[in-house]
Symmetry: D2
């Protein structure tokens, strides 16, 4: 558990970074919901604030009694929710008022965090609120990317000089997993979400994981081999989805005059084949792996592989290093291969689809009360992604972290790593 002083510093740093992320955007940019999965930036700004107001400042005065309905995402035990798919219909409260809301709650939180001691439950809620805010920071980036892409002018979120391939080296060795009983999941020290617990045993069979995520160049070979036209590579549901939505390449890939471009937060850029492929669905990741004669790893194989690398690295699971966005995020995953830094390539590049359906660990119990709705009720028809992306805050990456999305989701920074 972090000290009050540490929590207070984290609070200020993380909350400020949220504002840093919305700074390049106009009030209109922040208002738009381009599909049901996307939330307007302004909603993210308000919802993360509502989280502290509701769960940490619970019982004290309320900034605006209408906000509980508007900014409650999905906590039934806290009350009814404004329909998710209609968040883009709200022009008010406007961006300025939401900023005032943030300032008011920050002021009250600062007062709470000024002292030396804090009730342990409260400290845990605040830490959860900060982790929650970091999750929304990533969503803000993936959501605004989708919004901007819907505009035929393809506006730039932030110009960034990420395109040189410096530091992109050669791939390392495949990571071997030996058959046997392994321990997986989070154990005690440090923060984790409830869905990472309890730490428990699993039986793994012999396997090997690729040293790096699949690159754009690799994926292009799949496209050029007719990957999107041949049902034999695809799950039945994946094929139906790909046909119904007319998928021919990852999301944000556009072919112009024979060259493949990719929309990034820095605008439309020509694809560097060394980049890790991202914005692929589980269906595409699975089809690619079948085409390559391999498969996706399970989430436990992935976790065991990372543990092995970290062990060989003096215990540290080093992450992707090329973070260009002030202090924390990158605009796009660029480093795919690098012999000298194999260890770095499992955290912070792209989220890696695993073949594991998102499910409860043996003995899992959601916490009591509304916060029990945080994770558990979503354990159906979603697949686990591991590793974290360029858009994940560096201090939010964690070897046991379980991200999850439905198999047709493509707007996250989602890629894949092969297993055999």
């Amino acid at each position: 558990m972090r000290s009050v002083r540490e929590l207070s510093a984290d609070y200020q740093r993380i909350r400020r970074f949220t504002e840093r992320l919305s700074a390049p955007l106009s009030a209109e940019d922040c208002a738009i919901q381009s599909m049901p999965d996307v939330s307007p930036t302004r909603w993210h700004l308000a919802h993360t604030t509502w989280f502290f107001e509701t769960f940490a400042l619970d019982g004290e005065e309320v900034f605006d009694p209408r906000f509980n309905y508007l900014f409650n995402s999905y906590y039934n035990q806290v009350g009814a929710q404004f329909p998710r798919a209609q968040r883009g219909l709200l022009s008010r409260p406007g961006l300025e008022e939401v900023r005032r809301y943030r300032a008011a709650i920050d002021q009250r939180m600062a007062a709470m965090l000024r002292g030396d001691a804090l009730d342990a439950r409260l400290a845990a809620v605040i830490e959860l609120g900060l982790q929650h805010e970091q999750q929304h920071q990533e969503l803000m980036l993936t959501d605004i990317k989708h919004v901007l892409f819907c505009n035929p002018a393809w506006p730039v979120y932030e110009n960034s000089d990420f395109l040189d391939g410096s530091g992109i080296g050669e791939a390392g060795e495949w990571i071997a997993i030996e058959e046997g009983v392994y321990e997986v999941g989070h154990s005690g020290a440090g923060f984790s979400f409830d869905n990472e617990t309890p730490r428990h045993k699993v039986y793994l069979h012999e396997a090997a994981l690729a040293p790096a995520p699949v690159s754009c160049g690799d994926y292009l070979a799949f496209i050029e081999d007719g990957g999107y036209e041949r049902p034999e590579h695809w799950l039945s549901l994946g094929w139906a989805t790909a046909r119904a939505q007319d998928w021919r390449a990852p999301l944000y890939w556009v072919q112009r005059e024979g060259r493949w471009m990719q929309f990034t937060l820095a605008g439309m850029r020509e694809i560097d084949p060394r980049w890790p492929v991202c914005h692929v669905s589980y269906f595409e990741a699975d089809a690619y792996a079948r085409w390559a004669g391999m498969r996706l790893p399970t989430e436990f194989e992935w976790e065991a592989a990372l543990a092995k690398i970290a062990a060989g690295n003096g215990g540290a699971a080093v992450q992707f290093a090329d973070r260009l966005l002030a202090g924390n995020h990158a605009i796009h995953p660029t480093a795919a291969l690098g012999a000298e830094e194999t260890t770095a390539r499992m955290l912070g590049g792209v989220w890696e689809w695993t073949s594991s359906s998102y499910a409860a660990y043996p003995g899992y119990r959601p916490p009591p009360g509304a916060l029990g709705e945080y994770n558990g009720k979503f354990m159906c028809n979603q697949y686990v992604l591991r590793g974290g992306s360029c858009a994940t805050s560096a201090d939010h990456l964690r070897p046991t972290y379980r991200n999850f999305f439905p198999p047709d989701a493509r707007w996250q920074f989602s890629g894949l790593r092969l297993a055999r």
Copy 2:
């Protein structure tokens, strides 16, 4: 045809009034599209400007080459159009840039209108552009009303003191139509849209039209008599629509604690039974009329009735007088009845549904070129409304004016007048 000086004055007055209408709105208010029929205010601001740039300044320099795609509404001969239902996905160009666009085009139009003479075709296009802008002024009000209503806080567009019933008097006599041949449609003098021409003969049978539109009090009796639960009053398609969309009252009517409220541009207000009912669909208008043992008038009966009143009024078709919004519009139709001013009650209160399907007049020919797409191609599955509403500019009202909407449309200021 108006003189250049008159045109120039009209241009400045009408364009300025458009900005007056958007003044109470934030950038976010102007960005939202709450349903496919609604356009964002910002889109209206840009589209009306694009109209002048494209049709009046045609061939000169272009403000932004992307705007032709974004702000062309439906003129196939001018080029492809950004999908109508996705107008709300565009955050850029933002409100400020759209205002710069307006200013730039206004400057070029001012230069064109500075001289003494103007090519007749060009003058006609400019006059059409101004009538077009007045149509969009009304749409801006009806569209933003729908946007604000989607917000559970029910924001106020403009506070307005329209609720006293002063000047609301008694209904006059029914207006009798004698059987015979009548002339209808627009003839030569002054502006009209192509769809009002050519003036031609129709044969009318004996009929009578009510002296005033149906009031909220009248309509409430229909509701309370189970009007929305009894299929025998309804067209088959209307009944199916009413059930599928769960209609139980006009759009914007809300029952709270036993009292009927109506959302207006001035916020949620208690209904005054003397107001004309509005925001009813053709289906509801027709069902009400059947329930009342009567019917809707045809558009030609309506036009003949107005002509008769005007004749008795020294030739002038006087309009609703209670315009509260600066110079031109009202926030809500309030005056329904008034013995001493029967003549005033056919123009500018509510649009009145007629039983006439929107169709070409005998000998109708759309103008050549892209402007031929203005009206003619919409002549299917729509019904004609006559009279103009509180949101129609006073100088845009015209006895031969034909408005038209699909029979399920409710978001316009649409009411009805009985015939027998």
Copy 3:
């Protein structure tokens, strides 16, 4: 009014012909509903019987109490209805039981029709029931055609030797309409539906109607000129429909090895360019007319033109003569042109779309009670077709007959005639 003896003979003849129409079909053919607009043949067999049981034998014993729910089409005043779009989910009562139902009702009707006298109201209901059955005879043919077309084996309903063009001559003169007041609608003598009344005056402007319906050869020129790719010919709603449904030719037209084939009730046949085009929607008819520089006639122009021809023909509106199906119907409209028999070409070839929206005549009143739901409540968003088709019984054709379908309907034998 027909005598009881005549009614009795009509009853037997018409009812027997219904069974003749279902004779070539298996129990399974009779069970299928290939789209919501189509009803299973078995349902038609039962519904037409239910009509007599309910409206003519009203109040006597009931064959099966469940049938009122299953076989009531849309008469709300008679009770609730099994959902129309689910008629194809009913396997029971099976074909054999429905035939027993027919026989039982026929027996009771025969007893009623045995005497010399019959209450006038009852006689009128029986005559209406027979006209109703003839309407369903045509629907049986158009519906089973759609069902069989959904089967990739394209089964034949009835082999027919209709392909020779014998008797197809040259087109005659255009039929001129002079400006003035005309009387239209049905007047007294003989049967008509309520929607054909009252006879009333209309004012027509000068016009001319083509001597024959548009032929397949004519229509092919439209297709080959890019008619389905050029929005300028289309109503806005028509263009949207054509694109959404990917129309490239009339329904049932299939291009194979460069040749145009058409699915008919006699199987897939090569198109004879002299045939009248059919299975086009209102949208296609309208687009064709615009492309040809003309327009569709109004229903009153059509009726006046027919009256003129009949007057020149000694008062008789002679109909298409080539009826191959036993006694009454043809399998497909084949005769399009013929100088020597211009008079014959307005009744019984293809239903001809008019530009008239289906609406009540001045003074129209639906009959009281449930039978008032027969026509009136459908007067919205439908367009009138005149003339009757090859699938209409010869004694069901009538100059004042108003058929009506929504503008996107294509599965009827619907074609068009040009006006200018």
Copy 4:
């Protein structure tokens, strides 16, 4: 591997039983597809025959060249398929022709099975074809049940005297699972589907499984406690589905005059609270378990529990005994509890939802060629059910059998067993 003689006997017995199942149905019953998941009985009859024609008689003469398109279910490597959701649009080939098809293929199969020896690969394909036919036998019953239920007359498939509760005893002890490594999956001897292999090790934690499936009486307590109105029991996706589809009880449950009835293949019957609940979705099974303070077992816990019972039972996993339908199936699952026969209660009552997402076993490889599409491509967004139902053939039950359906599927005989 079975001898040719055994295979031949199985072939005749199983094929004949398929015909036995369709015997009570009319041609029309066999034609209807009541929802996309349901196939017409006639399609089942043909498809199972096509399976032998295509995979066992491959390369010889073809009965009808059109059948490969019509009756190929989903084998892309064998060719294109008639759209699944449109199977109910086919009236031809009719039931009689399909029966001739069955007879013709049976004759050729009989000739092949007459000898003493058979190629091993061919024998395996025939065995697979028979297992496949048994799967479709169960689907025929669940599909026709859905078809008949759509008819408001609720027809009886087969009258059956299954309602007495004789032999329904008390529940036994909970089945304890000890923590450790277990072997699961099919190993060598006897038939299995590919998805049951390879046998492999899993690590299980301490658990206990209920001695019997949840009963209707148990489930009624959940309903009466507001189970369908309280989101806190439900998965997020389950709650959304339940609300969208307005679920208030299991499929086929109908409340009449305060009593709960259930539609069965023997008609509408009053519910016996001792019956196992069935026709619940995964979502409902999961919600019930949460409400009860427990959870669903994983498929491996279930398999380990059955192995333990069988071990205590001298090695035999005895099945439900009350089979009323000739020789093989029951009409409805009736025996829920019985102390003296605990062992019998895991196979053949209801399919039991497990919490395991349907996924490949470690080292799983689908067979080469088109038969590789049998199972593997469906491993996404489905959940495993274990145990077999009353509608499963007795010799088709198998401890390692993995059935699978999407979590919203309810039309199978699907129930649940609690774990803790």
